[in-house]
Symmetry: C2
Amino acid sequence: METKVSKKAASCPVETTLKVLSGRWKVLIIQFLLERPRRFGELSRCLGPVSARTLTKQLRELEEDGLILRKDFEQISPKVEYSVSELGKMAEPILLAMGVLGEALENRMEKSSRISKKTDAHG
Amino acid sequence: METKVSKKAASCPVETTLKVLSGRWKVLIIQFLLERPRRFGELSRCLGPVSARTLTKQLRELEEDGLILRKDFEQISPKVEYSVSELGKMAEPILLAMGVLGEALENRMEKSSRISKKTDAHG
DNA sequence: CTGAATCCTTTGTGATACTG
DNA sequence: CAGTATCACAAAGGATTCAG
């Protein structure tokens, strides 16, 4: 297995993924949904300061792009559950790789600055 | 006091990476620099419609975050070369995973629409 | 609880003109 | 060539309000 980005053909799929995952919360949404299916409110809580409007929008886009599934229980007291689709599960390697890089970055950040300023917390 | 860190702690590195790679061109910049070092103008050309201002800014941020290196040859006719750092090379798995997902997405896009056009035509 | 609709602020990025 | 400075605009996201 070559650890080498094939020279040109690879850039298009990357851009596609870029578009699909573009949005402040999408990657995090997938991250939490990879753990287990979650309801709207639950997601909202574990993501942190996301507005209902934005969360709804990004969930809809992720759904439309086939990464997540939305199940509406259609009860009087609304209950909707989101989960990752098979396609969405293919995002896990990305998340893992991002985690690896992220740790290296945090290590290095002992000396540098740019990101350390605003560490986003959950709740 | 037991600073009990839950499983959510795993999301922090991901968020760090998210911040660092956030920006319309950053991932693509790294992709092209992983192939080989490139000069400013060369990058500008292979990225596509990016303004000098934006490219400069994102390059500076990537440099500050330690992902890329900037070498100024300090000649009369300006020559600057960018390359990925050791840290930047750790982004390659992300790129590869994004490529894999991207291809799956493109496959699926035969049926769906959101991304298939350059700019979203929804609203 | 899970949204939709509206308004508003912030942020990102491009266009243009200019410099060493 | 490799930027910098300024302006302008669009898009993203938040706050608030309303609804089933």
